[in-house]
């Protein structure tokens, strides 16, 4: 099965136009849109936290992943809509069983020091990712990709050279999987799979990622890094598509507090920042061209503790249903968050590629009907004014989480007479409490690692390490397992979501949205990429 998708033509066209002499170096107009471009092509954005690393195999945070995507390039990239487009690979082939993938690498792709990029660089990078000595926090991702022997290597049972990735020649890379994985190629856009420059790592050791030492293959190189203050990446003249790159310099300013960041945005110091909860309506009114909201591949929910440690009350599905029904999600999304977040009645966000939100009863009811049904179910479970349901719910310290938890507890109290004790826990304490099933009802949230429904639904399977509520349903496990090799997953995911809506092991609250202030002179921000895998090379600054 050969994959030379239609994106190749579009990408080729854009590249060709962009590389034309009229465009090169002039920064006069955008090659595709014809918009006038600014002379100063510097993009400055707010970075929530100092990044953990810019080593592709070590980075584990969102801020770091954004930098790594600019500095390095993997086999495949995502376009502005989140579609798969060529990266270092020009295309790939999969066998009929979808368990062997062969990538063809681009001729002429170079590292920032001028060395050619070869398939061996990918082999080295992927072997590093599973090497127990490096102890990559994302080594599990290689296991998730089903690469043969990854699991055994991580466990220390096999040498890293046994990883089933081979350089057939300098420009051909082959990967063998443990089983069929139709969406394997989409997973190669993740930073953990990016190549690294062996000679640089061997020469500088732990210092290899420092500006001046680092050699990368993306559209940018790291020129400056002042921890907790800023980092700067500048154009990589060796990048294969450098002529099509418009932004010359990207500056990330570390600003922990989003209100401070908004002030600095208003002062013109930033081109992009997040909007604090509740402020979007005002900002949209005052700056309609700058305040934007778009769907993200993330959910927000509360999970019942269904383990042996959990309260007996939650073993009753009527109780879980009643609590889920009585949450007025509209109040949370419109009055508390007010950032365009959609209400959630399914675990998987509607924005997920290839996923159609199934009909579930709770979604089609009015809130008045839900409340009436909730009262009925709670009474059937044996709770009422004389015997009120009592439980505790925990969340980690953050203003939004607190507001939502208070609102939910008040809804339950007013509608159902339920008495809730709120627990506001410091982040690490919260995580440990939740992981140890030392809770009754706990806040949860998840952002997809890749754009496919299984990135969410895997969480509620019995063996999942992220299934904090310890929900277990053999049919759900069976359906998710079948989906891994199926070419038509929608009926399987529909059934899973319907089971979840009936058994309600979690209460979906809302699906997240990206709520940003973006300067109107910034073009190309990928609002349709729900994973928000953005690349500075796709952005541009318009002339004022």
């Amino acid at each position: 099965m050969k994959h030379a998708p239609s994106f190749s033509m579009a990408a080729l066209l854009a590249t060709t136009i962009a590389a034309s002499p009229l465009w090169a170096g002039s920064h006069a107009t955008h090659p595709a849109t014809g918009e006038a471009l600014a002379d100063d092509q510097t993009f400055t954005y707010r970075q929530l936290d100092e990044f953990s690393s810019v080593d592709p195999q070590v980075v584990e945070d969102v801020s770091g992943a954004e930098v790594v995507r600019d500095l390095f390039e993997g086999l495949m990239n995502q376009d502005a809509d989140g579609n798969l487009v060529p990266g270092v690979a020009t295309g790939f082939e999969a066998n009929d069983a979808n368990d062997v993938y062969t990538f063809t690498l681009r001729q002429g792709a170079k590292w920032s020091n001028g060395d050619p990029i070869t398939a061996h660089d990918f082999v080295y990078g992927w072997q590093r990712a599973v090497d127990p000595a490096l102890a990559s926090p994302y080594s599990w991702y290689m296991e998730l990709m089903s690469i043969r022997n990854a699991k055994e290597i991580i466990a220390g049972d096999k040498p890293i050279t046994d990883l089933a990735i081979e350089a057939i020649d300098d420009h051909t890379l082959r990967v063998h999987l443990t089983g069929s994985l139709p969406y394997f190629a989409t997973m190669t856009t993740h930073g953990t799979t990016f190549p690294v420059h062996r000679a640089t790592i061997e020469a500088h050791g732990a210092e290899w990622t420092k500006p001046g030492n680092i050699v990368s293959n993306g559209a940018y190189v790291l020129s400056e890094h002042i921890p907790n203050e800023r980092s700067v990446r500048v154009r990589n003249e060796m990048y294969w598509n450098n002529d099509a790159t418009i932004i010359d310099k990207t500056v990330a300013l570390v600003i922990n507090d989003e209100n401070t960041a908004l002030t600095r945005y208003m002062a013109g110091e930033l081109d992009r920042t997040e909007v604090p909860a509740g402020q979007f309506p005002r900002l949209k009114q005052e700056h309609p061209d700058e305040a934007i909201s778009f769907p993200r591949l993330c959910n927000y929910y509360y999970t019942f503790n269904l383990s042996d440690n959990g309260p007996e009350e939650f073993k009753d599905v009527n109780v879980r249903q009643a609590l889920a029904l009585a949450v007025d999600r509209r109040i949370i999304t419109e009055n508390i968050l007010a950032g365009g977040q959609p209400q959630a009645f399914t675990f998987t966000p509607a924005a997920t590629a290839g996923f159609e939100v199934p009909d579930v009863a709770i979604a089609s009811m009015t809130q008045a009907e839900r409340d009436a049904k909730a009262r009925e179910l709670l009474a059937a479970a044996g709770y009422g004014p004389g015997n009120p349901l009592k439980f505790s719910m925990i969340y980690n310290t953050a203003e939004n989480h607190k507001k939502i938890a208070v609102a939910m507890s008040q809804m339950w109290k007013q509608k159902l007479g339920v008495e809730v004790e709120l627990g506001n826990l410091e982040w690490k304490i919260f995580l440990e409490t939740r992981e140890n099933q030392d809770f009754e009802l706990a806040r949860g949230a998840w952002c997809g690692d890749y754009n496919e429904a299984s990135t969410f639904l895997d969480l509620i399977t019995t063996p999942s390490g992220y299934n904090d509520g310890k929900y277990s349903n053999a049919r759900v496990d069976e359906l998710i397992l079948a989906a891994r090799t199926s070419t038509d997953t929608q009926p399987l995911y529909t059934e899973v979501e319907q089971i979840l809506a009936e058994e309600m092991p979690v209460i979906p609250i809302y699906h997240n949205a990206g709520v940003y202030m973006i300067d109107e002179d910034v073009g190309g921000w990928p609002v349709d990429n729900v994973e928000q895998n953005w690349y500075s090379r796709d952005l541009y600054k318009l002339a004022k």
Binding site: E50, N228, I255, L431
Partner: protein, 307 residues
């Protein structure tokens, strides 16, 4: 005097060792570990990471290795959260930032505070005194987390004169607001302490005698009143100095200076044991040194005190 200094410095060694042990115990008894995350790591991955950082070793060995690393190599260990850097890097990068704006804050707070306090005391019950007292009360009522946003709104948003944050090597325009935010409340305290101390000294018999001898006011103030006035001020300035040069968490966070206070807080929240311990040792050592300097300053100011 020299013997006293040597004794104090020798006592600092077991003090720091006790500090390390207490910190180690407290850190490891806090729930959650450095690698606890929203996405719990698979057991084998976690085991590999813990082995890499020696966290799979017995508690006593971890502590011994840590202390041995400091004593033999002056190595405070790796950061668990910022994997491209070690603790030495983090302190080397963050401390100069903190030291710079801390020193400026100290100079501003003590210079203005002492001057204001003296002026208010000399012109007791005049408009200058009322102004100084009013100013110091107002400044004291403005904690830095209130003052900093006000400064940014005025100087960044409205007037567009100063950047809202950043450091850029400590250029003056990035220094002004952090220094004002950090120094204002100290300045107010110093002014109030100085004023009340000076008023007390000015009412003593020897000052009255000096005035009766016909000495000019300037001589009375500078030669006879200033030193005893500064005694309580110095006892306040010692801890303040340590506090300001080790940074303000809020100032670091609000103005994104990249100072050490930010790393300190982040390390506590992320259970980045080595960073937390390294910065605590630094703060502990500075506290010991500046307590000693304060005590020596006492001896200089008060001839009755001898070590």
């Amino acid at each position: 005097m020299l013997g006293y200094i040597i004794r104090r410095l020798l006592v600092a060694i077991p003090t720091l060792l006790i500090l390390i042990v207490i910190c180690f115990l407290l850190m490891h008894s806090a729930p959650g570990g450095p690698f606890t995350s929203e996405r719990p790591l698979p057991p084998q991955v976690l085991a590999n990471i813990e082995a890499k950082y020696g966290l799979d070793q017995p508690f006593w060995k971890q502590m011994w290795d840590y202390v041995w690393g400091i004593v033999t190599r002056f190595d405070f260990g790796p950061s668990f959260a910022y994997k491209d850097r070690n603790v030495n890097d983090i302190i080397a990068q963050g401390f100069p930032v903190t030291l710079t704006y801390g020193l400026w804050s100290f100079v501003v707070a003590s210079t203005i505070g002492i001057s204001l306090g003296i002026a208010a005391a000399i012109r007791h019950n005049t408009w200058l005194d009322f102004f100084a007292v009013g100013l110091s009360f107002t400044a004291q009522a403005l904690p830095n987390f209130v003052l900093a946003p006000i400064l940014v709104i005025i100087f960044t948003l409205w007037l567009g004169l100063l950047p809202g944050g950043g450091w850029y090597g400590g250029q003056w325009q990035y220094l002004i607001m952090p220094v004002i935010a950090l120094s204002t409340s100290y300045m107010a305290s110093i002014a109030r302490i100085t004023r009340s101390s000076m008023l007390e000294v000015l009412n003593t018999n020897y000052i009255r005698t000096a005035r009766a001898k016909g000495l000019p006011t300037r001589t009375v103030i500078w030669r006879h009143a200033l030193k005893p006035t500064l005694m309580p001020v110095i006892s306040y300035l010692g801890p303040v100095f340590v506090y300001v040069i080790t940074g303000s968490v809020f100032v670091d966070l609000y103005f994104s200076t990249g100072g050490l206070g930010q790393s300190y807080v982040n390390s506590a929240l992320s259970r980045d044991y080595a960073v937390l311990l390294g910065v605590t040792i630094l703060y502990g050592a500075l506290t010991i040194v500046f307590n000693l300097i304060t005590d020596l300053a006492y001896a200089w100011l008060d001839p009755k005190i001898r070590y």
